[in-house]
């Protein structure tokens, strides 16, 4: 008898005494007739008993004693409805108010402001520039320009990411670095476009100029608050554009190649509106606050001079210490004033084990929608994906002597980080080829594979296309080095005994074998990739994906 979910569901409810008389009768009949259902019933019953027998907490004898004083203070705003206020208290309060009013209005302004924005003031205390708090380098800024990530602390454990979701809405994301796909690095950029030292310095100076501007755009504090000014999106686009424009001015050909051809490149460069340089300062005095307890949007005016002075001071100190010394930051709060907005609505927040994503509501997004800019951004994204694919190198070390291990070394130095693989090949198996076993050259399932990862990232850009290229190169190399095989005594004998034109047959057969091996190799690589993905997940348990739960957070900031 097939036990359906409906039967099991009724069994569960039967055990709880929650069935209708008809359902109960049917279930009892089933229980009598089927040993399988009896077994299922026993399993559910055992579970229920186990939960029933949970060991309770020891009784708390002093619960009421601790509760009593809190009852009077816990919900003051409701007390007024319950506790009658004697007129004398009101009169007394009025007198005190009058005295305080005479003593100065500052007290009240401060008190009133604190009451309205208690949460905001608590979390906006001691905010300072992320640039200094996380000790951001030019590499980090480059990473932001091309990969949209900014490290949030010196250790780089957490990053702030920006992006656009599938519905086209901008979002902010705070996530673990382990959940971030490694991207194009500054050194890759230099190498890709063959920039010399002087040109690299120029790129550095572009990044430096943006670091000053970014200083007031992302702020952090010791309460794990992250305050982000919407200008961040604008800076991101412009920084990337500036870097690209400079690269094309010094090595147009390489940039054109990277972007997939002259027409594509021209189209890309024609599209954007001229971007004023320097970039506008963070004029919008609105910040998205992401805190451990809440997410809100508030107006805040940053003391730009304060930040710039801090930067200047830090730079001065940096020059006076050696590279290894750590500088202790001693910075003052940067907000010179704080106010409110007149917006209300709800923000969509997605949380999973690795990240918290805040989708920016359109009615509080001060970003000017610039279609050209958005079009450009999407083109740049796809172009840099191409760049990422192109930036891989393969090297093959062919076996120098017969009978030794034959190794294929693959090194990738791409956007996804550096990785080196070494595939060992048992050469003796190649030289004892027999007539009837020529198709049994030991395939890759016998290959032992040693992996060395300079970084723990597996190159996700190892596309089929690239692997095909690898196989073709391997095949060509074999063609050139076929002399090596002919020098083998066993092979010579084999060819002499069996074939008139040994070299031709050898080449043809070998090529065929190599094709077969290539297919196996590709399969093996896919398996390895999957294995590495699992390995990475094991290393980072938080990375296990869970479906993000949307949370609607109301914001209502009154004037």
């Amino acid at each position: 008898m097939k036990i359906t979910n409906k039967i099991l569901e009724n069994l569960s409810a039967y055990l709880d005494g929650e069935l209708t008389p008809e359902e109960r009768f049917e279930t009892e009949e089933l229980l009598k007739s089927s040993p399988q259902i009896q077994e299922e019933y026993q399993k559910i019953k055992s579970l229920k008993d186990a939960i029933n027998n949970f060991k309770p907490l020891p009784p708390d004898e002093y619960f009421e004693t601790r509760l009593a004083p809190k009852l009077k203070t816990g919900y003051n705003f409701l007390d007024k409805y319950r506790i009658p206020r004697p007129a004398i208290l009101f009169a007394g309060a009025t007198v005190i108010l009058m005295i305080l009013l005479q003593s100065g209005s500052d007290f009240f302004e401060e008190w009133f402001s604190q009451g309205k924005s208690g949460l905001e003031s608590f979390y906006s205390k001691n905010l300072t520039s992320l640039l200094m708090a996380a000790d951001l380098t030019n590499e980090d800024l480059f990473d932001f320009a091309f990969n949209k990530n900014l490290p949030l602390d010196e250790t780089g454990n957490k990053v702030l990411a920006i992006g656009t979701d599938e519905t086209g809405k901008e979002f902010l994301e705070v996530k673990y670095a382990g959940a971030v796909q490694p991207g194009l690095k500054l050194n890759d950029f230099y190498r890709q476009f063959n920039l010399n030292q002087e040109q690299q310095n120029k790129v550095d100076s572009i990044l430096d100029s943006y670091s000053d501007r970014l200083a007031s755009v992302v702020l952090v504090n010791d309460k794990n608050t992250i305050a982000v000014n919407p200008e961040l999106w604008r800076y991101h686009s412009r920084l990337r554009q500036d870097l690209l424009a400079y690269a094309s001015s010094v090595n147009r050909e390489a940039v054109v190649t990277a972007f997939g051809g002259e027409s594509e490149f021209n189209d890309l460069m024609r599209e954007p509106e001229p971007m004023p340089v320097p970039v506008m300062p963070a004029s919008a005095e609105n910040y998205y606050f992401i805190t451990p307890d809440s997410i809100f949007f508030s107006r805040a005016v940053v003391d730009e001079n304060r930040i710039q002075n801090d930067i200047a001071r830090i730079r001065k100190r940096v020059k006076s210490v050696s590279e290894d010394d750590r500088i202790r930051l001693d910075l003052s709060p940067v907000f010179s004033e704080q106010g409110e907005l007149t917006k209300s609505g709800s923000m969509r927040v997605m949380i999973n084990d690795n990240s918290i994503r805040v989708v920016i509501p359109e009615n509080i997004s001060p970003l000017e929608k610039n279609r050209d800019l958005e079009k450009l951004a999407s083109k740049l994204d796809s172009a840099f994906k191409q760049l990422k694919k192109k930036n891989m190198e393969f090297k093959f070390d062919m076996p120098p002597v017969a009978g030794s291990e034959f190794r294929v070394n693959v090194r990738t130095e791409g956007r996804s980080g550096r990785a080196s693989y070494s595939y060992g090949y048992d050469a003796p198996d190649m030289v004892i080829i027999k007539k009837d076993s020529i198709k049994k050259i030991k395939p890759l399932d016998s290959v032992f594979i040693s992996k060395q990862f300079r970084e723990t990232h597996f190159p996700d850009s190892m596309s089929v296309e690239k692997l095909q290229k690898l196989a073709d190169s391997l095949s060509k190399k074999f063609g050139k080095d076929s002399q090596w095989f002919n020098n083998q005594p066993d092979l010579d004998q084999f060819f002499r005994d069996n074939f008139a034109d040994t070299s031709r047959i050898f080449k043809d057969r070998l090529r065929e074998e190599m094709r077969q091996e290539w297919l196996l190799f590709r399969k093996e690589m896919n398996r390895l990739r999957e294995e590495m993905r699992r390995f990475r997940e094991d290393l980072n348990p938080q990375k296990k994906k869970q479906e993000a739960e949307p949370i609607e957070i109301r914001y209502n900031i009154e004037t």
Binding site: Q42, K43, I51, P292, S355
Partner: protein, 197 residues
Amino acid sequence: MNNKQKPEMPITQTVFTLDDDFSLINAFNDGDQSAFSRLVSRHKEKVRNLIYATLGDARNVEDISQEVFIIVYHKLHTFRFQSRFTTWLYRITINKCKDHLRRVKLRSIFTYLHSEDAEKVTVSSSESFDIKQVVREAVNRLPEKLRYPLILRDFEGCSYEEIADVLETEIGTVKSRIFRAREFLKKDLEPLKNELL
């Protein structure tokens, strides 16, 4: 279509005795503060253990249970006597637990989960292998939607109708979620089925 049967309290059941919850609530609303103490004494352990079962650890039980009774104290005058007091009380408790879990989730973005786990305090057993503790941990692994109805049923002994009222959902949904929770646990505890039986 909500097919939940709203519990209408028959007139015959509104005849109060000194010890029942309704009479205590009425006494409190009439100004008898000691009635609230008696209400707390009657239900505090249920609330504490419901929080413990829901959160899976004892660290925040005291704070949350006190918060629950503070809310009860200030909102008791809004109680409409249309359901059992415990249904109302459990709804407040579950909502406080949900708030707490949401905050923990948000905080976990900023702190390593490992350190959180290391600090976890549970009622420990003297035995090295405690089947009850294993079951408790399995219950804690249940998704929240499945965990609440199962705990209210098997731990608190609530009827499906009461659970539907506490969780503000339908009876059919409660039945289905309790079944799914048990199926989840059966699979999760499959290696221990011999010890459980």
